[in-house]
Amino acid sequence: MRDLGMGLGLSSREYPVGGIAYLLRDQFTTPEAAPIASPRTCEPGPGTLALTQIDGAQWSIVDGNLTDDTSAVGWFKQVWATDDTYAVNASPGCIWGMKVPNGFDTYVYAGMCANKITGWAPDGISRGTADALNIIGTGSILTPYVASEPFEFYMIPRPDPFGHYFLLKQSGVTKLVYARDYANYGLYHWTCTGYSNIGDFSEVFITEDTWYPTPLQSDTFDRADSSDLGSTDGAGWENAASGTATAWIQSGLTDTEIVSNGVEQVEASDAYRHHAVECGEADIFISMKWTPAASGYGIFIARYTDSDNMWQLQVYNGNGIAYLYECTGGIWYQRNAVDVDADLTASPHGSWQLDGDDMLFGLTNGKGMTYSSSAHNTSTKHGFALYTTGDRVLKWACFAVDQSESIINV
């Protein structure tokens, strides 16, 4: 299997985080036989944890790790903060983290979620029927992740509309793997389940507000109807303006216009228009939201130089497939095509990370694709396009670009 990110010269950037204040921290120092007491006073603290040990599945503490009882597998084992205090404090920039010393094997589903888990899909990151996000042993979205090696997993609440960042740190590299659209900051917990060799936790923690990836540009398109996109509004989320108003660069065959606080294409079919904006960084994490649409392509544009040189990630509602295109010198190359079960009628969010040569795309349904290329990897303009195949219904509702590469020192 391709091992994206290994040996490809991934860069990293240090974000010193001095004097972290913990709301909760447990390093599971003192050995304890299964089932361990719940609620449990964290070591070294602060905070207390509640642990669910149901259906015969039990936790123990061995060698500084919270360890499962592998004699009863296949059922939930969860670690909870004991009350909503932590959820109340889960404001943007605070970090929910977990450290896994031995990795998880292929058949382990674990991660962090809000409320409870009631189901999974066989993806690297997946969402259950409740608000849940899991990391599993293997998966397309988490291609850099090596199942058998230690890793850390972070969740950082971010103001609306995109909800949360999820970061995976392994072998000294932190990847911003996903942003999700949870509307509320719920009562998160750590969880794991599986059929065999369930992974251990060496630490779980919650910090006070610390850091989240630097926003670069955003646009909600919430302005008066116009045939001109004008400039970004920097209002991509509620609590932190991102970027200064910057004029959109437009090219292509037809016009788009602002209609009812979204971007809509004027021509009915077989025409497109590119939109890009200077973001100041080539390594970015671009997120967009569709309005419900019956047909057409929702297109991300990244590393745009001009109308003949750019990358495009096209999500087609007609067949649910995401297509990756490189345009170099005016010639288009289809680099990748993955069935991501895209359903634009469900108003999904999409996120596309470009970090050095690596690309990582994901939808809110947990499906996505990866690719790697150095083409155009210094271009700092990014944006979007529309391509309708019939009815004039496809619309972008929101656009945001964050800085991509990152290391959080926890």
């Binding site: 058949y107 599993i136 490189e326 170099t328 010198g329 010639i331 288009w332 190359y333 289809q334 095509a337």
Partner: protein, 85 residues
């Protein structure tokens, strides 16, 4: 389901989206989605032989069809074992 690497030629013309692009011929001839695993720059694609390698995930039936098609070479394939969860 099976995962396989297949050597195919590039062609220019309408792709699965109906637009003109350079894309693997394999995607036109068989019902598969292709990923370019060479990850080479467009400028570095050798014109002769016009061949490169893509990764596909497909049914055993489609894999049999591709292996029987003399236009393509399957360099390796493996069955994908689904998680029991």
């Amino acid at each position: 389901m099976y995962r396989a690497h297949v050597v195919t030629s590039w062609i220019s013309g309408p792709d699965a989206t109906g637009k003109t692009s350079w894309h693997p011929k394999l995607a036109n001839d068989h019902d598969v989605l292709c990923e370019d695993v060479t990850q080479q720059l467009a400028a570095n694609i050798p014109p002769a032989p016009n061949e490169y390698t893509v990764e596909i995930v497909c049914s055993e039936e489609i894999l049999d069809e591709i292996e029987a098609d003399s236009a393509y070479f399957v360099s390796w394939s493996e069955e994908i074992i689904e998680s029991p969860v």
